[in-house]
């Protein structure tokens, strides 16, 4: 299957794919297209995206707004269904899954971090973190213990009983990250995690993501405008007009950035 995929892609990322030949593919898309009806006009958000993402990778997805970044994210996160094409998560075709299996997938395999945090407003930090565990069938006592552990990782152990409204943006984002880690997901999908934060807090979040990637081996896929992301990611991916514009390893990008500046 991998060979077929490589042929289908436009060739720009084939070198990278070859370089990671023996690693396990966790997310693969084939000819991904998505069209929306917007006020009666058919809008193509994605025009055919083929990509393979390997386990344990840290990928930064960049691109101007309206390029289809978020749509791409929703597709690979099983949050939306593609118009054409397929998404494989851990070699399972998402389109074949039932509603229950999709819920299981979202609960256990993928952690989502949204630009606007999307915390449940009426729950405390701890409850926000333990809710996915409850959905996953973890007993309350155990969930509480694990939740406190995760909050400690993101440095919010002391504030477990605070509601989102009582926390700063950075703290809320950290709770969101803690929540995404609740069921030890294989993949973390972050949609502009630092966009709403100041420099220092953004840096903290980035370091946190990097630590998770290195220490826990979580695959992190991050949509971002933040150039600091380039320092910590393994691969960079540019999306433009619903297509993959180019893909590059971090080392190559550094040189380019250097030459441009």
């Amino acid at each position: 299957m991998a060979a077929v995929t490589a042929e289908q892609t436009n060739g720009q990322n084939s070198a990278v794919a070859n370089g990671n030949g023996d690693r396990r593919v966790i997310i693969r898309t084939v000819g991904l297209k998505k069209t929306y009806m917007m006020k009666g006009v058919l809008t193509e958000a994605l025009r055919g995206v083929d990509i393979e993402i390997f386990q344990g990778e840290f990928i930064a997805v960049m691109g101007p707004s309206g390029s289809g970044k978020s749509t791409f994210f929703n597709m690979i996160g099983a949050l939306d269904s593609p118009s054409v094409g397929r998404v494989f998560i851990d070699e399972v075709d998402v389109a074949q899954l039932t509603a229950e299996e999709l819920a299981y997938l979202r609960c256990h395999k993928i952690g989502y971090i949204f630009q606007s945090y999307n915390l449940i407003k009426y729950m405390t930090a701890l409850e926000n973190v333990t809710t996915p565990m409850a959905f996953g069938g973890v007993m309350p006592d155990q969930a509480r213990e694990r939740g406190m552990g995760i909050l400690e990782i993101v440095g919010l152990k002391e504030r477990w009983h605070h509601r989102p409204i009582e926390m700063s943006g950075g703290q809320q984002q950290r709770v969101a990250i803690a929540r995404s880690l609740a069921n030890n997901p294989s993949v973390l999908l972050c949609d502009e995690p630092t966009a709403n934060l100041d420099l220092n807090t953004g840096q903290e979040i980035l370091e946190l993501l990097q630590r998770l990637n290195k220490e826990k081996g979580v695959t992190v896929i991050c949509a971002t405008h933040d150039h600091r992301m380039m320092n910590i990611c393994d691969r960079l991916m540019w999306i433009r007009d619903g297509r993959i514009d180019r893909m590059a390893d971090r080392s190559e990008v550094h040189i380019e950035v250097g030459t441009i500046e």
């Binding site: 949050l79 399972v92 509603a99 819920a103 609960c107 809710t131 959905f135």
Partner: protein, 491 residues
Amino acid sequence: MKEIKIAEQPWLSLHRTIRITVDGIRYRLFRASVTVAVIVVAVAFLMNILSESLIKRSVAANTRERIQNARLIYAWSAKLTSPGSLESVVADLANNPPESAIIQEIQGFGDFSDREMTELRQQAAEIAFVFSFFNGLDYAKRRSMIHTATGMGILNRLRTPAGREQFETALARIKSVHFDLPEEKLDALLEATPAVTVQLNKILTARGRAIAEINREVKNKDLLACLAEADHRFGDVIRQAGFVFDSEKLAPIIAVQAQRLIDTLHLEKSMEERPCRQLIAQQANILPADVNVIMMWDYLDSGRFADRYLERMTSAGLDVTGLDAERLVSLARGRKENTALNKAARLTVDAGRGFMGLGERLTWLLFVSMLVCGIGITNAMMMSVTERFNEIATLKCLGALDGFIMLMFVLESCFMGLVGGAIGALLGAIIGLGRVMAAFGVNFFSAIPVGDILLGMVVSVILGTLLAAVAAVVPSYKAARLAPMEAMRVE
């Protein structure tokens, strides 16, 4: 392709679901209370109409008997003054059971056998039906059918070929009206009309003779004064004249009512005297010329005033034998009760018809209020679900099952419906009770159907809860079925 082993998501325990739901409601307390308020208003409206209807129905049943009792004196003084009309005898015959005093009395006056009596009553019932049919028509229809005939004149007109033809042509033409008496029965009735008229006239004549006899006996003394002694000699006079007059039960009541009427009239007459008027004028701070009888009754009813009023009556040279302050107050109270009774009779005039005997107007109101209740709650719940699509999407991202999301919203609706319904039902019942009390007075307290109202409250609460739950099902089902991102996009 590798098969991922995806276990089914377990259901969240009900306990936890309820906790999440309650936390959600508590957090959005203001928004939730607005929703609850809508439910409260809707259910209160429904319950208000329902409780008022139930009380009115019960008051109506209670009032009919009381009015009959309170008006015995009027009925008897009318009876002893005039023999009545053919139509009134028909109504008496048609509306009373065979063993009742009035039927026996008529039988006595007409000197009929039991068989004749039964036949007459049957005919009277049919005649009464014909009367009520024509009385129920509007003027134009009635005129086109029987011209200007009234009462027994209707039957006499129908007996003429021209009159009959006019009636049948009009009946065939006016589709909205149905005459339920079969044709052969009408024919038989019209055939018997002259005979029936003779019999009815016989009754009237006998009654007239009896009245004349009574007048002779009491030497044209004032009838009310005579009736005040109905439990003594005058009762015997009435009985001897041929009226059925129960000395045990009826006579004392009539006597008391007659005395009360005499005193009432005497007091109202006292208003013509200057000293009496002046006293009321002083109290009300108005000119004596503007004083009216109703003011006098109001002041007497307040109780502090009766002594001085009696003094004024004495100084005006009026007869005050048998009157004291207590009597004046009691007369005022009695008059007030009578007014309330009359009001109750007017308000409950259509009770007994329509759904559950609530009357046509109230049935319609109840139906409309149910509609308002339903639409109000549906709208509130739909708003509540729609504005939380974002939260639903987030929960779905965290792995919530569709069923959990629906259960959460339906549970929330149930809570709100239950709370709102309970408050609304209580509020509605209290308002309804207050309004009915204000209209009929506290005397009708015993007439309140407590069981029926409690049942109505339970039904209202269940209805409110059910409506809220059903109203939440559709939007939450829609929200739960959407892919998370589609739901987030909805806003």
